[in-house]
Symmetry: C2
Subunit: 469 residues, 2 copies
């Protein structure tokens, strides 16, 4: 989509200030520049105006102005996305719901919460856990990311293995369409099959179908107890083997995080003491009542040993548990120090193919002379394959490695994204996974919600000439 004309941009700014007053509208390069990017490598265009919405009416006003001035509008919450979903690729309006931060309701009887889109996930976690309830989705950005973005991207996280992703917990959502409609989709009850699953369609639509207001999520009783294990293996094949055996034995930890050899090496360099023989680590967590956790942890340990684990370490208390997870968190920092640039690809393969995929990544790294490391949620086959580089002249090799990765993922029966979405960065690769008929159907669905193509353009779909209507 081309940038709007300067007349359209002026009109949009004027209408926004009329409708919302100056306190809710940012204009000018300096104020707007921060809204050109998110936490991905996607490059945006500084928006012409930023709306700081505080109410549903503000959202509707911003959408109306975009429509009337015919400028693109890009919804945004915390902007912690990893594929550019919140990046305005053609300028226009950025519509931030970051300021809508009310937890409107926690229903202590039925386990339901209603939250505004700017509520930070960690704050929702804390609020419901204080009441004895639990909201499972836990993307690693939980300290910063907002529910609105979680819903837009269908965020996952380590605990998705046992508890599923955001879509599995969103019961209903208020959605604002660019045509001016306010839709309340979904329900408050756990079950319900009245009409099409509009809620599920909106979750994961990456801000391309509607802007989210209140989100109704289901909760579960907070697990009594959590138990964490760390196991080391000589290589990722044996670690993958242990995962497969454990799942086949009916063990269902709430997470199984895998760190590969290059990741462990980066952690060693950053000063973490990790057994020199280890070429893979699994960080495993069980929850439930204490006795079951202990029993499951023991069985997982035995399974790991039968798969030739080098070491099995069970955290004996909260402090040890925190230490194990801090190693996982420090890992991200250690990895960031390794290179100036990195792309973290969030692919999924069937569980049994984890070893095969990682061998292929090693081959690609060698062939293209690109550094790489992989970690992620091995229990559900969702791996974050990172390619690292310093100089721009390495980019073509990185791109070849990424393309090689995507081809292999699809060949192994996997999918291009497990939890980060397609956004800008993966849009060109959508046809690798999906047939033209399916992509065309999704473009048609998009047109139902956004006939003029003004809502978050440039996302999900590969650039293509607009079909004649």
């Amino acid at each position: 989509m081309p940038r709007p004309t300067s007349a359209a941009r002026d009109k949009a700014r004027r209408l926004l200030e009329q409708a919302l007053g100056p306190s809710k509208v940012l204009t000018g390069e300096d104020a707007c520049a921060a809204y050109a990017e998110d936490e991905s490598e996607a490059e945006g265009v500084t928006p012409d105006a930023v709306v700081l919405a505080e109410t549903p009416d503000d959202i509707l006003a911003a959408l109306r102005v975009a429509r009337e001035a015919s400028v693109p509008i890009t919804p945004r919450a915390a902007g912690t996305g990893r594929t550019g979903g919140a990046v305005p690729v053609a300028g226009g309006i950025v519509l931030s719901t970051f300021g809508m931060k009310s937890i409107k309701e926690i229903d202590r009887r039925d386990g339901v919460a209603v939250v505004e889109p700017g509520v930070v996930l960690a704050e929702l976690h804390a609020a419901v856990e204080a009441e004895g309830w639990f909201y499972p989705p836990d993307p690693n950005s939980q300290a910063d990311c907002c529910l609105g973005g979680n819903v837009a991207e269908n965020a996952g996280g380590p605990r998705a293995l046992k508890y599923g992703v955001t879509r599995d917990w969103v019961l209903g959502v208020d959605a604002f369409l660019i045509g001016g409609q306010r839709i309340h989709a979904g329900r408050r009850t756990t079950k319900g099959v009245t009409g099409y699953d509009v809620t599920g369609l909106l979750v994961g639509s990456e801000g391309t179908l509607a802007v989210f207001g209140d989100v109704t999520v289901g909760l579960m009783p907070k697990p009594e107890h959590v138990m964490t294990l760390m196991t080391l293996f000589s290589d990722v094949r044996t670690a993958g083997d242990a995962v497969e055996r454990a799942v086949a034995a009916g063990l269902l930890p709430r997470c199984i995080e895998l760190l590969d050899g290059p990741t462990l090496e980066a952690m060693r360099r950053a000063g973490n003491a990790i057994d020199a023989r280890a070429g893979a680590m699994l960080l495993v967590e069980f929850d439930g009542d204490e006795r079951t956790c202990e029993r499951d942890a023991e069985r997982f340990g035995e399974t790991a040993e039968s798969a030739h684990a080098l070491e099995v370490l069970v955290a004996q208390d909260a402090a040890q548990r925190a230490r194990l997870w801090s190693a996982r968190r420090e890992m991200s920092r250690a990895v960031r120090k390794l290179s100036k640039k990195k792309l973290s690809e969030d692919v999924v393969v069937p569980r049994h193919a984890i070893g095969a995929l990682l061998e292929h990544v090693a081959m690609l790294g060698e062939r293209e002379r690109v550094r790489h490391l992989t970690y992620g949620h091995a229990g559900d086959g969702n791996l974050h394959v990172n390619f690292l580089w310093d100089d721009d002249d390495e980019v073509p090799a990185v791109v070849r490695a990424i393309e090689g990765l995507f081809h292999e993922v699809v060949r192994l029966g996997g999918t291009l994204s497990g939890e980060h979405g397609i956004g800008v960065l993966k849009a060109p690769y959508l046809p690798l996974e999906q047939a033209p008929e399916l992509i065309e159907l999704q473009r048609d669905l998009k047109r139902v919600f956004d006939p003029s193509g003004l809502l978050n353009p440039g996302k999900i779909f590969p650039a293509a000439p607009h079909r004649a209507c």
Copy 2:
């Protein structure tokens, strides 16, 4: 939708016989009459032709003929639906995928099965359990219903409490559109956020968006052990209280089935010995490893006693377990004997409101002098409220009772259907729950898949003039 003209019907029959040969096409009143109805009270029109599809190409051919002859086409698998989803309301073609019965794959490594739409659910259960895997959805019609219908209606069942409904287990689906497109939506991996959730949109679309071919479902390891309890209470309020306490305490049985006083009375009349003081029964089932089952069953028993249960009975072996469930199954037979006609409404309310809803049902029954009884999946608030009658002149009172029920369900924050769908029978009531904007949006989605409105007309949406395009 009016019935097609006799010229259109002749054309459809001729084209079908040309495309598929006589062995796959039924014509004539006698052969087609059985396809005018399903297991609901919905009244259909005998179709002009029935296609017995054996392959995806047969499905595409039938859809093409419907398009070319401009006659309605209604997909059907086993026809066990309870709201008329498979009933042809305007004649035309019935497209049966009942004959597509192959379990094409059971992936023993990753826990994935690929099945044709005519596979009977109980056969899928048996096949995957023989391999140590488990497919949780278990509508009570499992001995007869087919996967294609389960997907179309997003079928539930008792175990939905712990394991969710069909949508939670369908990873991908082959879908055939009336425009001739063959879409493969979804994935084989547990996680995946590539593009919109087209799979989730198709599941539960009641045959109004597409016809289903192969269905890819996720499996879980078969639980080691199952433990069944029966508890009796003096009334539904105390039974509901026990359910609320148990869930709040973090107990998650795989099912909690409630039978109310009138249901127990029907069972007594049919010869079952049930404590005369009992006005409600809960049938509860835990699964997992043996120790956890025993411990959870014990805790549930204690919770029930603290909620003034009259009796707690734990099945000590498989024979006792079978006996408890056979009482639940015989119940359906006992209920059928009570009256010539019955309508079973499949509503959902928030768990805490079960008692309030059942008191309202009792009031409606008294006010309208309509017999009623209720059973269902109390753990997730999904109740089957049955109204019974013998003579046609009772129908207006039954309709008033049903309308009173739906109003109360919506007032309590519930939904009109938990697992049976909207179909024909509940279509007039959709606006009770959903606002006009949401209904209009869904009509627009329907038009993307089926612009001419020929695919399974008369379902979900209340009759309304077609919007000018």
